[in-house]
């Protein structure tokens, strides 16, 4: 029985880590590949989560909906809508320098979150969207959990394969060139603006997918669920710990950081309620400290990026 509980715990843990890995891979395309300092993950996450939720959830008095579409349609729509939202934002903001881009993306993410919180028909306002269907939930016993985990692992596997190909391809090389030296890339005849926009939209689509998967897994999405700490900051820390620019690093970082996050929860769970809540905030402190240590001692992360070597003669 004890063992069975542990097994279920491991399944739940890996599911969350894999969902976060999608977000971390999205940040990697923006920041790791191209050097785009997009700190508005929460905004694209919200667009993805709410789109998929509203399209698939049963009818509710709180928001538009009752479409009852199948989950894969919702997830695809989440990616497309996140990309569509990212397109005008990218067109306008990508010419900004990095720290300005950070401020602009935070601002846009906050405006998006504010709209979801205050405009009730869109996503139920403060009530959020409930009863979001989860794939395989009709299966018996632990199999519903296991099947969902396998689905998420498969999704991460496919994304990893594709972004790894993209990274090694000429397309990825141009992105790295832009990251290292924009002027040089421009001088080499590359349309810098176009490539940056492509990377921004692709990364944002993954952030939308991240949101959709999270919404289907926890079955509810509300304004609290799009808190920037959880959906912007954690994927960023995961990427930096794992190694910016390295796709496998992004996944590894997601597992490690989510592991640290969960372990501290296990420890604080044994404390009395009043203290558990407070000491729970210590883990945010620990994650912040981990970020500082990695930035100073392992600037490349645990798996630093290793560009494909060019043979010299």
């Amino acid at each position: 029985m004890e063992l069975y509980g542990l097994f279920l715990f491991a399944v739940g843990f890996l599911t969350m880590a894999m969902i976060y890995a999608v977000g971390s891979l999205g940040v990697n395309i923006n920041w790791g590949f191209t050097g785009l300092f997009n700190v508005g993950v929460a905004g694209f996450f919200a667009v993805g989560a709410y789109s998929s939720a509203v399209l698939t959830a049963p009818e509710s008095v709180n928001h538009i909906g009752g479409f009852g579409l199948p989950v894969p349609v919702g997830i695809l729509a989440a990616m497309v809508l996140a990309a569509l939202v990212a397109w005008p934002i990218g067109r306008i903001c990508l010419r900004l320098r990095s720290d300005y881009l950070a401020i602009a993306t935070i601002g846009i993410a906050e405006i998006l979150r504010l709209s979801f919180r205050n405009y009730q028909p869109l996503g139920g306002g403060p009530f959020g969207v409930n009863n979001i269907p989860r794939p395989f939930e009709s299966l018996p016993g632990p199999w519903d959990q296991i099947a969902f985990l396998l689905l998420v692992v498969a999704i991460v596997g496919v994304i990893l394969f594709l972004v790894q190909r993209a990274w090694a391809a000429p397309w990825g090389r141009v992105l790295r060139a832009i990251r290292e030296n924009e002027d040089a890339a421009e001088a080499a005849g590359k349309n810098v603006e176009k490539f940056r926009l492509q990377a921004f939209i692709l990364g944002s689509a993954l952030m939308g997918l991240f949101g959709a998967l999270m919404a289907h897994y926890v079955k509810i999405i509300s304004p609290e669920g799009t808190e920037p700490l959880l959906v912007t900051f954690l994927p960023w820390v995961m990427l930096i710990v794992g190694g910016a620019g390295n796709n496998k690093g992004a996944v590894l970082g997601a597992i490690l950081v989510w592991g640290l996050w969960t372990m501290t929860e296990l420890l604080t769970g044994r404390l009395p309620d009043e203290w558990a809540l407070r000491v729970g905030y210590l883990r945010i402190f620990l994650i912040g400290l981990l970020l500082q240590v990695v930035l100073q001692k392992f600037p490349g992360g645990l798996l630093p990026e290793r560009p494909p070597t060019v043979p010299r003669d």
């Binding site: 990095s98 601002g107 945010i284 500082q292 100073q296």
Partner: protein, 307 residues
């Protein structure tokens, strides 16, 4: 008309002053240390909670007789100094190792981490619930009938103006202030002319963090304390600093007043009967102004000389 002054113009002035005190620091740190300091909002929250500690401590002394607002005014130097010390410590531990880095963006990422660390410490020690400096409603003074001003609003405006005058004197009359302006103009030139740049950096943190701590106490005085108040204030403060032109303290003051006024006045029924912008979306006004500024005039309204 007088309702407009009482209910919109005075709150706009108060909020604008609070934003301005925060924006000065963002602007100076950007000019001298060359990075956007994202932990500035949480430094403000730190200051606000140090103010709360002072109120609690004074409760145990004969000074408990005084009104909360007066006790907070007594606590302002403590909030200023305490937050400045915290900022200098943070700089030592987390920002200085990157001083010679090729790209300052790594410091920006570090400052995100610092922001969350500060916030989690506030949550650890003070809990997550909303705290008020004082319970109960404060009634407006009817000093200059029909003008109705809250006592705390008078304190906030007077102290803010005084601090800005002192800042002006400091930047234009003292050696350190002049060194700060020199370093913001050209850090390398300042270094070769014998200016102790690390000392200038410390003074930048003292002023930036101290002023934002005062802003935090004022915001807590005017509204309430929550651990996330720093994050909520970060964007309007950046909006103000960008509007005024990063690196220009006077621009930051103007930017703060403009952003504060736009937020408050956006809910006035300018057209028709209802508020122009629903109050729920009030904070979006600052973000929208900021994004538009970033796109169309990223150097702000006050270009000219830097700092």
């Amino acid at each position: 008309m007088i309702d407009f002054v009482n209910q919109y113009l005075i709150p706009a002035l108060v909020l604008g002053g609070i934003y301005a005190l925060g924006a000065i620091g963002v602007s100076m740190i950007y000019a001298i240390l060359r990075f956007a300091h994202f932990a500035h909002g949480d430094l403000m929250a730190t200051g606000a909670y140090i103010g709360l500690l002072v109120v609690w401590v004074l409760d145990a002394t004969p000074l408990a007789e005084l009104s909360v607002n007066v006790r907070l005014l007594i606590g302002l130097p403590a909030a200023f100094a305490g937050t400045a010390a915290v900022a200098i410590l943070i700089d030592r531990l987390f920002y200085r190792p990157f001083r010679r880095a090729r790209s300052m963006i790594v410091v920006v990422i570090a400052s995100f981490g610092v922001a969350l660390m500060l916030r989690s410490l506030v949550q650890l020690f003070f809990g997550v619930d909303v705290i008020n400096y004082a319970d109960g409603i404060q009634f407006p003074l009817k000093m200059f009938q029909p003008l109705r001003i809250l006592e705390r609003h008078i304190y906030i405006v007077v102290v803010t103006i005084a601090l800005m005058l002192i800042l002006h004197w400091f930047l234009t009359r003292t050696r350190t202030g002049k060194a700060m302006r020199a370093m913001s103009d050209d850090a390398d030139l300042a270094r070769v002319s014998g200016i102790d740049t690390e000392r200038v950096v410390i003074w930048t943190w003292i002023l930036g963090a101290g002023l934002v701590a005062v802003a935090g106490v004022f915001l807590g005085m005017d509204t309430r304390l929550v651990p996330t108040m720093g994050w909520d204030l970060l964007l309007p403060v950046f909006a103000a600093a960008i509007l005024g032109g990063l690196g220009q303290p006077y621009g930051a003051i103007a930017g703060g007043l403009i952003i504060g006024a736009m937020e408050e006045l956006s809910t006035y029924p300018w057209v028709g009967d209802g508020p122009l912008v629903p109050p729920d979306y009030k904070t979006a006004v600052a973000f929208a102004v900021m994004v538009l500024m970033l796109i169309f005039r990223p150097r702000g309204i006050f270009r000219g000389r830097v700092l």
